[in-house]
Amino acid sequence: MLERHIPFTRVERPDPSEEAAGARARLAGKFPRNSLRRMTHLGLLTGAALDGVAVDADDAVVYATTYAETRTLEDFLASFPAASPLLFQSSIHPSAVQQVLIGRQQPIRRFWPVTGRRRLVESALLAALMEPAPRVVFTGGEERGRWLLQRDMASGQTFAFGIVLTKDPAGARGGIRFQPGGIAPDEPCPTLLAFAEAVERRDALRWRGAGGEWSLEWR
């Protein structure tokens, strides 16, 4: 069985009307000023979800997102034919976490940026549970799109979460487990938003996938 304990969680779910500029004003105190002006909405929320979480160089970071920097992608496309260098680099996966850790000037050894849709949460959790690092920071989120959302190519909601996963059960509020085995077919994997909502509400989750049984439980 692969297992990690959860001593820390935070979920950022801003008012649906919030835009990047609003988040920048709301969260200004959490970021270095020279980083703040270039941060995307998702980068700001990811940073807020990890606020107070000291990331060590030997920690591993797992990042999950289906759509990533949707707004920046839309703006970069709009910048052609004079493509914007700033929007180009910010639109590249996995920009949100890099915005946060570059702001902190915090190197890390292993960084797992996971994408996809149907089994995204499962892939990301597998990456986290297989990590030899004693401490794994699991973060993820989305930002609400504009024209891409109208074409079902973006998230309808803006959110981010941060979870610390440890091997040490001391102080744990919950845990995530994967028990390999069995031959039953896979069940639908929770979406990234459903996972974030479960973390926020401390709801338990159970499903079957990747050849085993998954459980998210709280104490």
Binding site: A83, H93, P107, F111, W112, V114, L126, M130, D186
Partner: protein, 371 residues
């Protein structure tokens, strides 16, 4: 940080790639001949712009088509993958890319043809491949700019070592589009000069190239194996490295320790940028003294998130052939004397370090050897 590589030996049951020259055998032959696939082409393809070095697999000049121009090439590549129940629980697929089908979004804005949107997002692109190739649901997707393929290889290794999988197909592809060429051009590193990796010259430049590759990894004994893998993320600057080279050193020292003093050569990242090229060359000259350093991006261009897997397949083919291509496009003086400008025999080398770097100061390296 403790300099410990992932020492999880993993066999390569099969691997292959596609470049503008063709498969791995044809590509290595072209590289040994010193041929360049890069040609000066308009940066925005049919929409024009400055001419920059781009290497394409077809003659469509980056025109976004329906179906996308990368799909026929990927069908060809997929034909070389050993048959299997790919995407099943015991035989998962790991897909990596930095671009996926993002060029289709640029095409949509120009044409307003909604057909382009069907594969514009990474998930949509991967789901298209699942349908196309009959892969099951167990498909893991990673995107970490130009070290994406290395991330996929390490994840695959862990799935095997955790005994969650029996074999893993790692599949990676990146095709140049006006979207990505325009982006690199905006950063001024994609200009009218052909790249000359590791050459000490006045202006740095890169080229971009189409590339796709696969590898089937297994714990079973195979002729070639990945002995160790290392990652490091500087998180210093989006497009620059720490000036003291500590980011390069963190990854290179780790993989050099795994080599354990054996004689190896280095297939470096070497895109043609000056500062990163100098730091990379100096670092490997220090941690692996005397190890020949080559880059093939002066011919093939930078195949972006897929470069680690494309160049792994070319490295395997070079070892199989017993001859490694030199650093095409470059001439002396170079940043270090270890830069190999001409082909050399691989006999006598115990292995190869295959290294890649990416935005955000990401570094990845693996140690490939004969089993």
């Amino acid at each position: 940080m403790s300099p410990i590589a992932d020492l999880l030996p993993t066999g390569i049951r099969a691997c292959g790639c596609l470049t503008p020259f063709g498969g791995a055998e044809a590509t290595v032959a072209a590289l040994l001949d010193g041929r360049r696939a890069l040609q000066l082409r308009p940066v925005l393809g049919p929409d024009g712009g400055d001419c920059v070095p781009i290497a394409l697999m077809d003659s469509k000049d980056m025109a976004e088509t329906l179906p996308p121009r990368w799909l026929p090439a990927l069908r060809t590549l997929a034909g070389a993958i050993p048959p299997g129940t790919w995407g099943s629980t015991r035989h998962p697929v790991v897909v990596t890319s930095s671009n996926f089908g993002v060029g289709s979004l640029y095409a949509y804005l120009g044409s307003r043809d909604a057909g382009h949107l069907r594969h514009g997002a990474p998930f949509a692109c991967v789901e298209l491949l699942q349908d196309e190739f009959g892969w099951g649901e167990q498909v893991h997707v990673f995107s970490h700019a130009c070290v994406s393929a290395h991330i996929g290889l390490m994840h695959a290794t862990r799935l095997l070592q955790a005994e969650i999988a029996d074999s893993v197909l790692v599949f990676s592809f990146d095709f140049v589009s006006p979207f990505v060429a325009g982006g690199f051009h905006s950063l001024k590193i994609l200009n009218s000069e052909l790249p000359a990796p590791y050459a000490a010259r006045a202006t740095g430049s890169i080229g971009l190239g189409d590339g796709a590759a696969f590898a089937v990894l297994t714990c079973e004994p195979t002729p070639f194996r990945i002995e160790a893998q290392a990652l490091h993320n500087e998180m210093h600057h989006f497009t620059g490295n720490r000036a003291d080279g500590s980011g390069f050193a963190a990854c290179a020292e780790t993989i050099a320790a795994a080599a354990g003093g054996r004689r190896v050569w280095v297939k470096g990242h070497g895109t043609g940028t000056l500062e990163a090229g100098r730091l990379e060359a100096e670092t490997y000259a220090r941690v692996l003294p005397g190890a020949p350093l080559v880059s093939w991006k002066g011919s093939l261009g930078h195949t972006l998130g897929s470069c680690g897997l494309v160049e792994l397949a070319l490295t395997v083919e070079s070892m199989r052939l017993g001859r490694a291509p030199g650093t095409i496009g470059s001439t002396a003086p170079c940043f270090t004397e270890t830069v190999a400008l001409t082909p050399f025999a691989t006999a006598g080398y115990a292995g190869v370090v295959v290294a890649s770097n990416a935005f955000g100061g990401a570094h990845a390296a693996l140690l490939l050897s004969h089993a």
